[in-house]
Amino acid sequence: MDSILQVRHLTKRFGGLTAVSRLDFDVRPGEILGVIGPNGAGKSTTFNLIAGAYGADEGEIRFAGRDILGLPPHEIAARGVMRTFQHNRPFPGMPVIDNVLVGAHTKFRTGLWGLVTNLGGSEEQQARRKARDLVGFVGLSEARDADVATLSFGQGRLLEIARALAGEPRLILFDEPAAGLTPAELERLAEIIRGIAARGIAVLLIEHDMRFLLPLAQRVVVLNFGAKIAEGPPEAVRANPDVMQAYLGDAAAV
């Protein structure tokens, strides 16, 4: 199948430091692509370039055939690229279900005048039903109407996922989703991510934790010092001497 996201020659410099250097990769619909690498490899920069937080110095990011590089984050979201945050960023003034509904923001068609004249009722009902389904999909049904402040860290991560899914993404970006989760929560998270890919959504996972990522991803891109040093199925990547060198070098330095 054709890829939905194409990254070509992507380069980002911060002053004298080249954080991402001539990076190429593709993500296909329904595929889980992992991007791994030691600290400072350029994973987060790559993530932020795709999500629209930074502009690039060179290269191209094409989503569904159109260049999205340099678009503001809200337009990238509107085209069907949704993301989660590594440090959970819920909207604390709203219950769980309303947080998820914010994720569906770009799906509403009733204009302001329509809202004032009370024309948005059925659309709102429909969106609420979908949001309830998503809250159920990630397993937060019992906390549906709870204040987000009462959620545990792990539940907050699940809320991030439900909120991103509410935007009906064709590509979902996960920023280190395993960080801070217990082993039981990790198992649940892996199951949810597989479920998302099974819906035909392309999944791009930026992850530090190899033990979490390797069993989950179908393909892996390994970064080191901003450049791609390996790409392929997890087993092949794991055996790659360059990858071992990069990770062991990192571990040795610690």
């Binding site: 999500a51 984050p73 979201a77 960023r89 709203m94 509904l101 994720g103 302001l112 809202l115």
Partner: protein, 310 residues
């Protein structure tokens, strides 16, 4: 809320002044106007998180513009209303578009400057604004040959309040209200969900400023005079305090805060004279330090506690 409920609320609130004397009718009218202003300011500050000090100035722009368009320029009533609203919208856009592109602090500064500038313009406006003495000796034009006055005009204010509330209530319960709260709580996450943060801020600032302007137009025929001291900065801060004391982000909080702070001097000054200002100050400090969710937050806590202990 169903149409029947809105009508019921209107009937009750509009019937009340027919049982009040002219003094209490005047107090009642001003209370309704303060609640209207607090409701729209709550949407701007409490729900969308924008700190602006121009709300009362827009109230003044509405009041002055209707009087100037009607009696200085001699325009027909409907034209004067449309032009007054248009003026508020243009002025709001002119302030909001440049300042929301910057950090929130700059909106506070820009709107503070606007509020000050407005009073200067009123004082220096010569024959058009009536200078320091303002404009007086005018009365509401007849509408379809009918002269609306006394408790009937109070009914117009009730319609203004309920109309403002209906607009804000419906917006708040929709995707738009959630986007506003998201922008307030975490602009970066809101943008990642597809919310155009700058656009949302500009729309809310313009809408609530226009609502304040419409309230000002209604106010112009309450005292039948408009003058610069009425629209000074102290009232801009009073609206902010009403919303904070009542509970920012909640419509009920705006109503409670406006009612309490507006009526407090009427009850306290006979007892303790000018020291009522002290009570006001203590309430504001307590609301900020001890009850960040305001009086409505205390009510929420209490009702949760009662439910829990049952």
């Amino acid at each position: 809320m169903s149409a029947l409920r809105w009508l019921g609320a209107f009937a009750v609130l509009a019937a009340l002044p027919f049982f009040l004397g002219s003094y209490y009718n005047d107090v009642y009218r001003k209370l309704l106007l303060w609640i209207t202003l607090a409701l729209s300011y709550n949407f701007l500050f409490g729900i969308c998180g924008q700190v602006a000090f121009s709300h009362f100035a827009f109230y003044g722009v509405g009041a002055y513009s209707i009087v100037i368009f009607l009696f200085q320029f001699g325009l027909p009533f409907p034209v004067a209303i449309v032009l007054g609203v248009a003026l508020c919208v243009l002025l709001a856009l002119a302030v909001a578009i440049p300042s929301t592109r910057l950090e929130g602090f700059y909106l506070a500064l820009a709107t503070l400057a606007l509020a000050q500038l407005f009073v200067v313009v009123l004082n220096e406006g010569g024959a058009v604004t009536g200078g320091t003495g303002g404009l007086a000796n005018y009365r509401l034009p007849d509408v379809f040959g009918v002269r609306i006055s006394g408790p009937w005009y109070t009914a117009v204010i009730v319609a203004l309040l309920l109309g403002t509330y209906a607009v804000l209530w419906r917006l708040d319960r929709s995707w738009f209200g959630r986007a506003c709260r998201a922008v307030r709580d975490n602009p970066e996450a809101a943008a990642a969900m597809g919310v155009n943060v700058a656009r949302t801020k500009v729309i809310v600032f313009t809408l609530t400023s226009a609502l304040a302007g419409v309230a000002g137009m209604v106010y112009a025929f309450v005292d039948n005079t408009v003058n610069p001291p009425i629209f000074g900065l102290d009232n801009a801060f009073l609206i902010l305090f009403m919303v904070i004391v009542g509970g920012a982000g909640r419509h009920a909080g705006a109503v409670v805060g406006a009612t309490l702070l507006f009526l407090m001097p009427f009850f306290l000054s006979p007892l303790i004279g000018h020291h009522h200002v002290l009570v006001f100050g203590l309430l504001v400090v307590a609301a900020i330090l001890v009850w960040p969710r305001g009086l409505i937050g205390i009510y929420d806590e209490a009702s949760r506690w009662i439910r829990f202990s049952r």
